[in-house]
């Protein structure tokens, strides 16, 4: 049952005392409710994409031993609003000799393709606009619209930089679509459903029930998906379409003002989409540890709202952790060259994702679920995963301490301020 439809039905029974199945004007209320859901999603996108740009710039400042935006609002947290207003008030330029129509409609494709994915992203137990039964396939399909938009922007600008950027991004996005689709296919094989909520329901709240630790090949598929998704989002190890140092800005070099902002908007919002899909498919989605979905569904009134909020918090925490990793990767890993990029995709990721699918398939047939071999594999993966997280944190701490000691020896004063007094 669709959650939005259910809410609309209840609203009609309560407000107009009619049966929604027979009432001829029910579609108006339905349209209103869907519109409400869509507007809420736009609000979420705006309120996510904005502040996360500020976050990334602050993190980048830290990693590069500089300050980052700190003027607008306390700690610079309103910087994104200032940037937005500035772009809003900037002149909208269309270069001489450009294909004006294509140039103007390219941002619609980029933003629309990105925003379409929010239909099926589950934020909580019932917090999903429409749980399509082809959810994962739909996400892969609708985000492909972004490629059309980028190619359109690159071609229509009539600029050499933009053309290079557009062609590169088309090559990159279509290539990396394959490993990401194949690693999601491994998930579908294992879950037996394409619906996002179905994939979440097949997992559990505790880490040992996540798909990540259920099967060694799914563990590998997670890293394949994550790599491919970073590449599809044009994030730095793979940000060749807009490589600042060689292509100046790539496909969006001729854009200005609000039209330019929509490309950036889509890029940042895509950060949420990739982290959310990875969370849903591998990290247990919104499942609350120790609480079964049946228990949540049975709750009424205030308890129901509480569970929804808690499941959203669990989901947001997992997705934010992934986003922080992506942000950190951007400022620590150098950019690949275009031929290395294609090489990585077609000669490593695609064959490896084939192996993942066949491996998942073979293990599903050979290993009995809940049997001894299954349990040993899961325990080993869990220990390995735990060790990897600890090692990751330990290395960051070591780098940080070394940096701090160096700075204090050179400058004779403390490097980091308490958070409330950061410059």
């Amino acid at each position: 049952m669709n959650v939005v439809q259910h809410a609309a039905d209840r609203f009609m029974r309560w407000a107009f005392s009619v049966d929604p199945a027979t009432w001829p004007h029910a579609w108006i209320v339905y349209a209103g409710f869907i519109l409400l859901a869509a507007v809420l999603a736009v609000g979420f996108v705006a309120l996510f994409a904005g502040p996360v740009t500020w976050l990334e710039r602050r993190v980048a400042g830290r990693i590069m031993s500089r300050i980052g935006p700190n003027r607008v609002g306390p700690q610079g947290v309103l910087q994104w609003l200032a940037d937005g207003i500035k772009c809003f008030l900037k002149e909208d330029l269309v270069p001489e000799g450009a294909d004006r129509t294509l140039f103007r409609i390219a941002p619609y494709f980029v933003f629309g393709g990105m925003f379409g994915a929010f239909v099926v992203l589950p934020f909580g137990v019932h917090l999903v606009a429409a749980d399509l039964n082809v959810g994962l396939l739909y996400i892969l399909a609708v985000t492909s619209l972004v490629v059309v938009g980028l190619l359109m922007a690159g071609w229509a600008s009539n600029s050499k930089w933009a053309l290079f950027g557009g062609v590169r991004s088309a090559a990159q996005l279509v290539s990396y679509e394959i490993p990401s689709a194949f690693s999601l296919m491994a998930v579908i094989l294992f879950a037996g459903t394409m619906s996002m909520q179905g994939v979440v329901a097949a997992q559990g709240g505790w880490p040992w029930d996540w798909f990540l630790f259920r099967n060694p090949f799914l563990f590998a598929a997670f890293f394949l998906y994550f790599t491919a998704a970073i590449a599809e989002g044009n994030r730095t190890p793979f940000d060749l379409p807009e490589a600042e140092s060689e292509l100046v800005a790539g496909y969006n070099v001729e854009y200005s003002g609000m039209r330019y902002l929509f490309f950036m908007f889509a890029e940042w919002a895509n950060l949420w989409i990739m982290s959310a899909v990875a969370t849903v498919c591998f990290l247990g989605g919104w499942q609350i540890p120790g609480v079964s979905p049946a228990e949540v569904a049975a709750a009424e009134g205030l308890a129901f709202v509480g569970w929804q909020a808690l499941s959203f918090l669990v989901f947001a925490a997992k997705a934010s952790a992934l986003i922080l990793v992506v942000v950190q990767l951007r400022w620590t890993v150098p950019r690949l060259r275009i031929d290395q990029l294609m090489f990585t995709c077609w000669k490593y990721l695609v064959p490896l994702s084939f192996v993942c699918i066949l491996g998942v398939l073979a293990l599903m047939v050979v290993v009995r679920e809940g049997g001894t071999v299954d349990m040993i594999l899961r325990a080993a993966l869990l220990i390995f995963g735990f060790w990897a997280v600890v090692e990751y944190a330990r290395r960051i701490r070591r780098t940080y301490l070394a940096d701090k000691a160096l700075y204090e020896r050179m400058e004779g004063k403390a490097m980091w301020y308490p958070p409330y007094r950061m410059p």
């Binding site: 330029l93 050499k160 689709a181 394409m194 031929d339 000669k347 084939f354």
Partner: protein, 133 residues
């Protein structure tokens, strides 16, 4: 079901509408001072030499062809992947595995062929084996 896809339609319309409204409202607030210098194409400060629409070596063309093969394969295999778990539960595990494995192996052969031809290399020698056609 119709409701779900109506949601998709409304979301796409709202996405486009958001872009449109932002641009439309901005039209009344932003300046519009056309200038030939501003309208010129950016080419690192130099005056642009010729048009941006020139004969361009479409390296991505072959990759796009390979991509289509693989993407169609994805669209065909996703539905099969959904029912594999049921088949295994029903005892038809062998059929499921052989069908998917066979399909994937044909594709792997295609990938190996393209790879062997050198079409996956972005940087290619003009006289190299990859540029016969």
């Amino acid at each position: 079901m119709q409701f779900d896809f109506a949601t998709v339609l409304v979301f796409l319309l709202v996405g486009a509408g958001f872009v449109f409204i932002a641009l439309f409202v901005g039209r009344f607030l932003r300046p519009n001072l056309p200038d030939p210098q501003k309208a010129s194409v950016y080419e690192c400060g130099e005056r642009a030499i010729g048009s941006g629409w020139f004969n361009f070596n479409p390296r991505f063309y072959l990759m796009a062809l390979v991509f289509i093969v693989f993407d169609v394969e994805v669209a065909l295999t996703f539905p099969v992947a959904v029912v594999v778990r049921d088949w295994i539960a029903r005892g038809d595990a062998l059929v499921a595995v052989v069908e998917i494995a066979l399909f994937l192996l044909v594709l792997a052969a295609a990938l190996a062929y393209v790879w062997g031809k050198g079409h996956l290399d972005w940087v290619r020698d003009i006289e190299g084996p990859g540029d016969e056609e």
